[in-house]
């Protein structure tokens, strides 16, 4: 099909405008379409597209800790905002931690002296759950998970 305007080049832009039920078709070549200005002929680049989609995805997923810390802020400063950040972002942080700690991910050193206020029931169960998962004792883990849920519901 030839361009409606110059009648010389192959039409590549096909515009169909419907106004009050009246259908109006127009077929233009690239040059005439650009000159007419009616069509945004230039497609956004791949990078632009990706950038947009990244941004919107980030906006949707950006979770924040109660201290206000987000993962993108952490990536900028390298610092977390409070102890709770390690709970909220644990999944995302573990690869970072392992990389910076030579592949290690389990604390082996001393623990705070236990003269300090004892762990709460919930904290104790959470620790036990972590150990159970580590030891692949999934029956015990399931029991603990239920106990934790019950405690959390109470709290």
């Amino acid at each position: 099909m030839l361009c409606d305007s110059c009648k010389q080049n192959e039409a590549v832009v096909h515009r169909i405008v419907v106004i009050n039920g009246q259908k109006n078709e127009r077929h233009l070549c690239a040059k005439c379409a650009e000159a007419a200005g009616s069509v945004a002929f230039k497609l956004p680049s791949f990078a632009e597209l990706m950038n947009v989609s990244f941004k919107s995805a980030e906006k949707e997923e950006e979770a924040a800790c109660e201290c206000g810390m987000t993962l993108s802020r952490f990536r900028e400063s390298g610092l977390l905002g409070c102890p709770k950040c390690y709970e909220i972002f644990r999944e995302e942080l573990m690869p970072v931690i392992e990389r910076s700690q030579g592949g290690r991910h389990q604390h082996m050193g001393t623990r705070p002296v236990m003269d300090a206020p004892a762990l709460t029931e919930l904290e104790k169960r959470r620790e036990e759950l972590r150990v159970a998962i580590e030891q692949e004792d999934y029956e015990q883990a399931a029991r603990l998970r239920d106990a934790i849920r019950a405690l959390e519901a109470k709290a």
Binding site: C67, L79, Y86, V96, H107, M108, G109, R111, R130, V131
Partner: protein
């Protein structure tokens, strides 16, 4: 082979524990009131009656703050923070930095290589605090710190080494880059980002998670001891193979220090490094402590009670060196 006193190579050692208080935001996210609470809560556990000194950074003039850094009592980062503080014991072997990157940075510093001794100092303070103020702790990740590179034990053990022999024989750089692959970090005289003036290097453990404190210290001690042995060997080689060059260099360094009228810090560290080398090899009759004290005494903030221009500073430094070394 010539014997070299090990403390002529391993100058000092340090253990640092990073801790944060439970249920409180880390330093970078806390409010002014919360920062104040950290200062007060910890300060009350280390009373003046027991010989502790408490210094508030915002109450100290800039020169006194720089002086603390030059004496290795706290980090340059601490003095840059607003609402931060420092607790020191009588002997200045224990220092607790408050509101640096973490709520607490407990440091033990001792001469030579005595990491268990420095750790014991830290641990005592650590337990004192933990009895009253619960720490942010996680059974998997250990002590929780603002930066994940300090997780687990929160422990950074280090030693300050004078590696002039290795540097002069061109072995320092390749050797240090090799050991940095063994989970060891190499830094300059004043920690992260500072150069290594006077061939003084700080060697510390890179990883803090997944090993016991004792293991970390033993692994580091073993690397440091081997490095010190290499340094002793390099010094011995210089003395037997290039005695004239060595004496020439040391003589020139002494000459510059005794007669110069202006001296920048970089040159000063370089000359004092050569003099230290000369003393350790028995070529100069002078107690080593005198030069070690002089190294600190020649840092910027030690030279005057009032801020100096660059020219005044280099003049004051040259005067101090002339005076200290006139009988050598």
């Amino acid at each position: 082979m010539i014997s070299i006193q090990s403390d002529h190579i391993i100058l000092s050692c340090r253990v640092r524990l990073a801790r944060n208080l439970k249920d409180r935001p880390f330093v970078n996210s806390q409010s002014g009131e919360q920062a104040e609470a950290v200062l007060q809560d910890v300060n009350t556990l280390f009373p003046a009656e027991k010989g502790y000194r408490f210094l508030r950074m915002d109450a100290l003039p800039p020169l006194s703050r720089s002086s603390l850094v030059e004496n290795h009592l706290c980090s340059p980062e601490l003095v840059a923070c607003g609402q931060s503080g420092l607790i020191l014991n009588e002997a200045n072997t224990l220092s607790i930095m408050l509101n640096e990157e973490d709520h607490l940075r407990i440091q033990g510093i001792l001469p030579g290589l005595d990491l268990p001794g420095a750790y014991a100092l830290c641990r005592e303070a650590d337990e004192t605090i933990a009895k009253d103020l619960p720490y942010a702790f996680d059974s998997q990740l250990g002590y929780l710190t603002a930066c994940p590179t300090n997780l687990g034990t929160g422990m950074r053990a280090s030693a300050m080494l004078h590696l002039a022999g290795l540097a002069l024989t061109g072995q320092a750089e390749p050797l240090l880059s090799r050991i940095s692959k063994l989970g060891v970090a190499v830094r300059g005289f004043y920690g992260e980002g500072s150069g290594a003036p006077g061939h003084i290097y700080q060697i510390s453990n890179q990883y803090t998670l997944g090993m016991q404190e004792k293991e970390l210290m033993e692994a580091l001690s073993s690397i440091i001891t081997q490095l010190a042995a290499q340094e002793a060997r390099a010094r011995g080689l210089l003395l037997t193979r290039r005695p004239l060059d060595l004496e020439d260099m040391i003589g020139r360094a002494l000459g510059v220090c005794r007669y110069a009228r202006k001296m920048g810090i970089k040159e000063c560290m370089q000359e004092l490094s050569a003099i230290k080398l000369g003393i350790s090899l028995g070529l100069l009759p002078c107690p080593m402590e005198r030069i070690d004290e002089l190294i600190v005494a020649c840092q910027g903030a030690q030279l005057s009670n009032t801020p100096l221009s660059e020219e005044e500073e280099s003049t004051a430094r040259a005067n101090r060196l002339r005076e200290a070394l006139k009988d050598l």
